[in-house]
Symmetry: C2
Subunit: 330 residues, 2 copies
DNA sequence: GTGCTTAGTGGTAACGTTTCCACAAAAATT
DNA sequence: AATTTTTGTGGAAACGTTACCACTAAGCAC
């Protein structure tokens, strides 16, 4: 049997309440605190967090629900969230949904059962719409993806702006026939598509946007099909880091050179985008900031539950590399 | 206040015990079960997991302590562990130590406080030595890194063999002066070094092994320093995926061509190793298998606590690519 | 010195479950 | 028909904490 607070009390020669106070808050004489600490060391006592949570009604736990931790974007955000949480004495429950609404629902009820203090969530389009703030009894901060009409605190990239930046960049390098490949399951994909189309229109160009399911294979297939067309675009704007992998693979398989045969610009400044030859032009997302900011929003919300919801919109940084080298004048 | 089992009992018109049985195990009439389920739906009851864990003394939680989830190797293993765990109705607590023994100690006590059912752990050399199986009251499965003398269930790569495979591969391609760069904090690094040196000796060659702290920057610096030497090696054997990034960067910075100026072979078949030009020759680790196998070992241990400890040694797969193209005959 | 606060302590009632026990009714066995 | 087993149910005691209350002793202001 494991040792509990009663055992510590007996060894220290004080009451249970005193032990509890000595280990936490509350007035305790220096002398007694000493004794208690000695007793803790002697017995090897480790407080039972389940009991503590039950009694205190404070779980000190926050949930983090993302699509897939293998996506470096979420990995980085996750690390930032975790670091911030542990620094604040909280734990993190991490869940991967693989963009599956059923699993999202599953994990949402799990969060309720765990009585989490708050939740950081990157939902699919399907669930974000049916998400009711008042149905859950903990605050939610959305990351990466927006919900409808200011119902939730949110931190995300300025996706429209970022897409526009890439379009401008490509146009300034001489590309006109630019296609866009976007993720089908997230609002992020939609926003980036919108920004792309708007920027194209402003430039007097017509864009063509396609969507693909969120996997490397799907992106590779979609890109391959597109690039095999005789009237294939000169450049491809690619919605995220996973897709970039697929697109580069497709280009390699088809024997197309980047950027001579097909220029590529995308999102997520992963380490390898610099190492590939030529380097890929990307929008770098401030991943650490996103994670930290999400935690900050969450803590703020817990402190002032009735404050108006806030939306933190961060700008991406365009990192120009060889994959969008200037087109030789025709 | 949130609704509890008592409320459900009142609504269903039965006792608390009956509700508990209806939701879990135990003989309950079909009729009553129906009523209870209706009451659960009506009230929106969600069981309190802290209370359940406290009372039942079963936390259904397993811990996963790794160095850094941003390392794709651990990300992939983590996903596999998590999937297996959730499928078995268990939760996972994920912790990143950044190879810091102090944080390892911190998280180990956290695991005790959480009363985890079991732990999957990739420890540093420093802590694995002072880890006492009997000091913790839950079973531990080590992954990626070995402990001393069969004290723990373990699943890891056959690192010596893998290093030898790479050496053989390089030698068969005509390389003789081969250096090795290894991670300083893990037993894995040591084992790979040993395998490398042994294989070199067998071939009648003398190896030179260097160690670096576990970060891309450290690896890049170490590689750069090495490659700047006039008598630099013809080929570099690189201990892990993170280091590979650093080494390729260093080569690029110094303007060295791969493989003409420096051949590269390493560990971890990350997607980008195929996309970089030339592709990198690597040992692919069976990451999903490692995660699944670790969970299997853990469950087995829980079922039969006194069975002898087992060590699952998996073989890597050598993926040959352009970074180790055959040396032109001198 | 009398009242009034405050620091320090112990006893005990929660927190929301599950599980043990007792018991009645029904079913199965003799 | 008498006994034993099984099935279904409710009451109440845990699980290991914290938080509330009551109390003493000491300090302080007057």
């Amino acid at each position: 049997m494991t040792v509990n607070i009663k055992d510590v009390a007996r060894v220290a020669g004080v009451s249970v309440s005193t032990v509890s106070r000595a280990l936490g808050e509350g007035p305790v004489s220096a002398e007694v605190r000493e004794q208690v600490q000695a007793a803790v060391r002697a017995t090897g006592y480790k407080p039972n967090l389940s009991a503590r949570r039950l009694r205190s009604q404070r779980t000190q736990t926050i949930g983090l629900i993302v699509a897939d931790i293998r996506n470096p974007f979420f990995t980085a955000v996750g690390r930032a969230v975790e670091d911030a949480a542990y620094r604040a004495g909280m734990r993190v429950i991490l869940c991967n949904t693989d963009e599956d609404p059923a699993r999202e629902a599953l994990y949402l009820t799990l969060m309720q059962e765990e009585r989490v203090t708050g939740l950081i969530f990157a939902p699919t389009r399907a669930t974000v719409d049916r998400l009711q703030a008042d149905a859950l009894d903990f605050p939610i901060v959305l990351i990466d993806r927006a919900g409808p009409g200011g119902q939730f605190d949110t931190v995300l990239l300025d996706n429209r702006e970022a897409s526009a930046t890439l379009v401008d960049h490509l146009v300034s390098r001489g590309y006109n026939r630019i296609g866009g490949l976007f993720g089908a399951t997230s609002t992020t994909g939609v926003e980036r598509r919108d920004g792309y189309l708007a920027a194209m229109t402003v430039r007097g160009l017509t864009g063509e946007a396609r969507f693909a399911p969120p996997s490397v294979e799907a992106a590779e297939n979609a890109a391959a099909a597109w690039l095999r067309q005789p009237d294939r675009p000169q450049a491809l704007l690619v919605s995220n880091g996973l897709f970039l992998t697929g697109v580069v693979k497709a280009a390699r398989t088809l024997g197309l050179r980047i950027p001579q045969d097909i220029a590529v610009a995308g999102f997520d400044n992963e380490p390898w985008t610099e190492l590939v030859e030529p380097g890929l032009t990307v929008i770098e997302q401030p991943v650490e900031t996103i994670g930290r900011e999400a935690m900050a929003l969450l803590f703020q919300r817990l402190k002032t539950p009735d404050a108006p919801t806030r939306k933190v919109v961060l700008s991406g940084r365009c990192v120009a590399r060889g994959s969008t080298a200037a087109l030789p004048r025709a």
